[in-house]
Subunit: 206 residues, 2 copies
């Protein structure tokens, strides 16, 4: 039992420290001290810091997926759920003077070029979020909020990437304007332009 | 003369090393060794590594601005120039197995949260690129390629953020699909939807 707890504690602190300081600037000692676990025992659970970071990213993927499901429960319109998803993301990105935000975006910038071994797990994190967004868009197609024939997976990928970049820009600026512009452009320009002709006006007003 | 050369050499190596390894993982010794400059003399030019990184970002801004001007010279249509700009960005991002890419995006992710002193220069780099893209969009408005009344600065900010995120995603995946989807969505969906009704078809076919 204790062994399992230590592993969970380490991963929880890894989520915080990697999001705040990044991978290179976070040492194993920072992680074990934050978790209150003896340094030596880190290697009982993980072969290396890289192995640990892969587990942290996997945990991030699983938590993000669960959070999204919980946050959007009870909202009827798929496009309203989508907007809510991005609004929650904005609140999270801007919290505590932009010290956290999307862990996958941060580690992708830091590690994907230099350490290609991180690519499969990073791609899985993004792919998982993309799948959830694509489901919402497909549902919007099925309900006639978006015209049929649009490629939901491709559109989902575009929206997520765009959001990711807006979050980076917001962090650089220290204010949320880029994320608000993202929401305006997507929900008042792009998606209404993809609505069936008869419902475009109604969507733009949402 | 020699003093000036050393400073330039250090900044040139800083551009390469920060883009490849990031800020935290690059030591002053890495920079001076790469530039062939004695370590001690680094502090003749820069008060600290942070001071140096600010100078590197300023150089990145100035070089990027000049490159964009050169790459787009001689192309008539402002929207074609815009597309060319993003295509050049794709080639640069994917070069050498994604080891380089946009320095401002990388350092924004790494530093803007933890070290807010970087925000003004990061924001100036993004703002400068945004200004260039906004000029192209304004020109497109003036020529009737985009309908008048669109906010060129806001649209430029959205396109740049979106591209930035797509570049991060491409890096994470190790292939350029996200950047190609960005180009499709922007040049075959979003911008044609902003064209005056009479020219929308012609633009989509470009």
């Amino acid at each position: 039992m204790k062994r399992g707890r230590h592993r969970e504690d380490l991963i929880e602190k890894g989520l915080q420290l990697f999001a705040t300081k990044g991978y290179s600037a976070t040492g194993v000692l920072d992680i074990t001290e934050a978790a209150g676990v003896p340094k030596g025992s880190f290697y009982n659970y993980f072969q290396s810091k890289e192995d640990f970071a892969l587990a942290v990213l996997e945990q991030y993927r699983s938590e993000s997926q669960q959070q999204m499901t919980e946050q959007l429960a009870g909202v009827e319109s798929p496009l309203q759920r989508l907007r809510l998803f991005f609004e929650h993301g904005r609140a999270k990105t801007c919290a505590e003077d932009f010290s956290g935000g999307c862990l996958a975006g941060r580690l992708a910038q830091e590690l994907a070029g230099e350490q290609p071994s991180f690519r499969p797990v990073l791609d899985r994190v993004f792919g998982c979020m993309q799948g959830q967004v694509a489901s919402l868009l497909q549902e919007a197609c099925d309900r006639g909020e978006i015209r049929s024939g649009e490629n939901a997976a491709e559109l989902a990928g575009f929206l997520l990437s765009s959001w990711q970049g807006a979050a980076t820009r917001a962090k650089a600026a220290g204010h949320d304007e880029a994320l608000r512009v993202f929401e305006t452009m997507v929900f008042e320009r792009l998606l209404p332009s993809l609505a069936p002709a008869s419902s475009a006006t109604a969507l733009a007003a949402n």
